[in-house]
Structures are given as C-alpha cells and as structure tokens.
Amino acid sequence: MAGRSVSRGAKPSLVLHVPSETAFLVVVRDLTRKMAETAGFDATTAANLALAVDEAASNVIEHAYHGKPGRSFDVRIDDRPKEFRVEVVDGGDMVDPQRLPRVDLERYASERRKGGLGVHLMGKIMDSVTYRRSARKNVCCLVKRKA
C-alpha cells in the first residue's frame, strides 16, 4: 500500500463566543475535545481537558453570572507548540482565587457538601489553572503541557 496524509501542527487561536446558558456547555466541551485531539492528545486526555473547560464555563454561568441568561463569555483555544491553552473570559462578578475552596475528599461526603469538586477536578486535570483580571474581564487560564 502507498500512502499520503495531511496532519496538523500548532494552530492560531480559535474563539467561541457563548451565551450564558448551560445548554451550550456541551458545545464548549465538544469543541475543546476536538481541538485537544487535533493538538495530539489521546482520546482520554482530550475528554479530560474538555471536562476541565466545561467546569470553568459552568462556574462562569453559575457564579460569575449567577445563572442569568442574556450574558455571554468567550472560550479561547490556543494550540501552542509546547502547550494547549484555553482561556475562559467573562464580564461577570470577579473570582477571588484565594477564596476558592479546597476539597478534602476523605471528609467530603460527611460534610454533605456538593460544591468544590469542579475546581478540584480542574486542578487535577490541568498543569496550571490561574485566574486574572484583564480589561475589566475575568480570565480563567487553563494550561496543559504537551508530552
């Protein structure tokens, strides 16, 4: 068999502008997973990266916008040579990264809490998760290094 193929290197960034409704989370997820697979991550890692971005976007809808529809946020996906970087940018309430909860899974169930798992998962999946304020926007930056 003879063969030829087209494959892809790192790409300039793609931005998805998303209304503040949870119905769109699945679109954020699918796009992130596709871009992560294109960036060379295996299927399981790509699914995990998509989950981390789903969590960041869920938090924007629930906490920055308090579940109000009619707002929007951006998901900027950057496939860089050494890392896969996603920024979730919103114009809602600020996050205080110092006040993000830390989860102790041993005690979690008995505390009867439901929150905190999203931030915990993002940290487990990504190499870094940082929050900053830029041009009056909140930017949550998620980075995964390439192998």
Partner: protein, 122 residues
C-alpha cells in the same frame, strides 16, 4: 429533538436501577437529582446506577451522588455503579471515587452484590 439526558428506572430484586442516558453536567443534573430524590422518597436505599448509556459526567453529577450517599448508607443501603465507559471511569479514578464507591463491570454483578453474601467489588 435531541434529549441531553434521560433517566429511566427499574426495580429488580429490591434494587432500584437508574439508567442515565446522555451526559450528566450542570445542564442536566436536575433530572438526575430528581430521580435520585424520588428513589429516596420511595425508601429505596439499594441503588445501582447503570452508566452504560452515560457518555460523560462532570462535577455537578458527581456532586449529586456525593450529596446523597450519607443518607443512603445511613439507611443501611448503598449506591453502586456499573458499566462505566473509559471517560467516566477515568474521572472516578482521578477523584479517587473508586475508593469511595463500589464499581462493577456489569449491571448484573452490581445487583448480585446486594444479595446476602454478595461478593466484593471487582
């Protein structure tokens, strides 16, 4: 019309089976929580969540399970999981949930584990 999550239920040998079909995230978690609440209201504390139709789960879904487990176990029951796909199992492992919950390869094994003397999780 696409449906993002449906949750069918069934009772077998006194065990309540939940069949989430679709994905379980912040958008769909209310449906799942609703079925879980109905199960507890029915005083059904032996619960198997058959995940064969579940494409993925986000923290909202995991939180719903976490939020009910004390009540379930406090009533002498348990919530056990079956037929997780690779993506879902991976998330359970990342969170260490595989130490908090008994997970079975198949629904049948999960049901049998509730019989007196039912074997340990495989």
């Amino acid at each position: 019309m696409t449906s993002d999550l449906t949750v069918d239920t069934r009772d077998v040998e006194g065990v309540r089976l939940l069949y989430p079909r679709g994905f379980l995230n912040a958008h769909t978690v209310r449906v799942f929580e609703g079925e879980l609440q109905r199960t507890l209201q029915d005083q059904r504390f032996k619960i198997v969540v058959d995940c064969s139709g579940l494409s993925y789960i986000a923290s909202a879904g995991l939180g719903a399970i976490m939020g009910s487990i004390e009540e379930i176990r406090g009533n002498g029951g348990d919530l056990r999981l079956a037929s997780l796909n690779e993506t879902v199992r991976n998330i359970f492992e990342i969170l260490g949930f595989n130490h908090l919950y008994r997970i079975f390869p198949s629904e049948a094994e999960a049901i049998l584990s509730f019989r007196p003397g039912g074997g340990p999780a495989s």
